[in-house]
Subunit: 363 residues, 2 copies
Amino acid sequence: MNITKPTLILDEAKCKANIAFMADKAKKHNIELRPHFKTHQSLEIGQWFKEAGVSKITVSSLDMAEYFAKDWNDITVAFPVNILEIDTINRLASKVTLNLLVESVATAEFLIKHLKHSVNFLIKLNIGNGRTGLMPNNTETIDAILETTKNTDRLNFIGFLGHAGQTYKCRSKTEILKVHEEAQATIVNVKNKYKAQYPNIIVSYGDTPSCSVADNFEGLDELRPGNYAFYDVMQVQIGDCSYNDIAVAMACPIVSIHKDRNQIVIYGGGIHFSKDRIEKNGTLVFGEVAKSNGSTWHDVIPNMYLKALSQEHGVVSVPETEINNYNIGDIIYVLPVHSCMTADLMKRYTTTEGYRITMMVNY
Amino acid sequence: MNITKPTLILDEAKCKANIAFMADKAKKHNIELRPHFKTHQSLEIGQWFKEAGVSKITVSSLDMAEYFAKDWNDITVAFPVNILEIDTINRLASKVTLNLLVESVATAEFLIKHLKHSVNFLIKLNIGNGRTGLMPNNTETIDAILETTKNTDRLNFIGFLGHAGQTYKCRSKTEILKVHEEAQATIVNVKNKYKAQYPNIIVSYGDTPSCSVADNFEGLDELRPGNYAFYDVMQVQIGDCSYNDIAVAMACPIVSIHKDRNQIVIYGGGIHFSKDRIEKNGTLVFGEVAKSNGSTWHDVIPNMYLKALSQEHGVVSVPETEINNYNIGDIIYVLPVHSCMTADLMKRYTTTEGYRITMMVNY
């Protein structure tokens, strides 16, 4: 493999092991797995999920739904409906089972008026994350949406959807499980209120930390984790995976070595990694460096991390005992803080075997 | 203009005014302007600089140099040489005047051995930013590089280059000027040491804050600001421009309104804005909202800002007095925190007149 520029390397075996882990877990719990494909955004990687028995998917935009509609016929767009894209919605609804998120009467009314085909919808609930969705006790709006949609064949109510994204603030399995139990109870409680009236409704639930560590999914019908296909340094910090589970790394050339300040500068910046960061012992970290092992990587090197990113530069803090092991022109492997964002920027994968895998590109 | 998705809008008049401002300033001070094109990454916008009298440019990658070599024949790559891209360097050196940054003997030796054409080089100095470059008092390494390169016709020493990026920590004109004076003195001092030996060497200097506010460039020969073509919320905070100078804004559809928490959710997330942020009165800010004015925007709305970004979602904090002015499906204009990163993600511009402008795309 001839790497000359920042390159996103994918360890196919690790990725497939992650995919199998979650597929097996869902089977064991007899729960539908509808993985979120925003992480990898790749038809080819999507096939690996098919091989693991997955038949339904989640995406985060209508563009992504159109891209994946080539191979998948049951797609949930886990994002509040953007009514301005009604043409795309109609195009998609004519060919796949499309599941949309509704959280207002205004959106429901717009859809009833403009949909040319029938779509399913879930009501998005805010189960603690605070990003979007109705408060679970906002039965007034839930009832108003259901009242608005009850006499149309365009909008078919199939249940409630929540994302316990507050697990991203956790720092251990115990903390994740606590958040999960609360979020699970909250959303199952809403379902139970409406079950008599709508006996077939489901609860769609998901986030990689909860789905990775929980072992009780009672009352939930569907899981939507996405990041677990790759994991990343942020998930290690949250406490739901180990460094060894991380399936992607950025291979970056060393362009400068500053022994006087124990730093290495790599070609690899914010336009490659994204500017997502974590705080570790009071220090900002934009990626962690793993030992190079030919065309792949192994263990993380303690205290060797990306400390700053500008557009193309990455500044790596290097332990004094390590700095003499590197030369200008060497490639180092950096585990990304947030693999979804890094993949989105890189727009392609190179496997550790040197095989190229394409992604959605829609400029 | 029919906006249905996150769209990067460019106000051509504001951008051209920014371009003219810096061109006029450089002319007035009789100093070469070699603007950094990493901000806009567009051949078409590059032409606006030509019209303002610019003939030399700066870029941050060899890919960008190749893209701009179509229209420009004097290009500085303001990034430490990535020796792994020697083929690209040779290709470029065969057609344009290529100026590279060298900061180690190892890189100089590699280039002497592998260059097929003559290139110019500048020695990169760390003039306070701490990202990369040699310490100005590291005459040992400077001398070693000059010794290594003195007998080759492949590497032609043309001077010193510094980037006073520490101005990004400033919060007023006064602070910027103080940093500028120190950085200027530092780099001019190095030049003066080597002037007797190399009478034609230059000092290339630049960063948008310094170049925007300073009025003394004595001893400097060349300025390389880039961001000033667009400016952004970060530059307003630094203190070198006003909101009214910002030439780009993201037009984003409203997908959800949460009056109970005074928040609006927009289609527009980290994959559109980037995750760059500033801290303002102790709060993280990922963008600020400006009043919509048909196909453009005007004043910033106080206390209305992007408070959180996930992959596609943006959560906007809205003053209670404002929230009733918005409906689902409306477009809001968000001034980006860091326009270079946002432009890099969006990969195209739509002018306020509705005209599309392309950028470099090299996936």
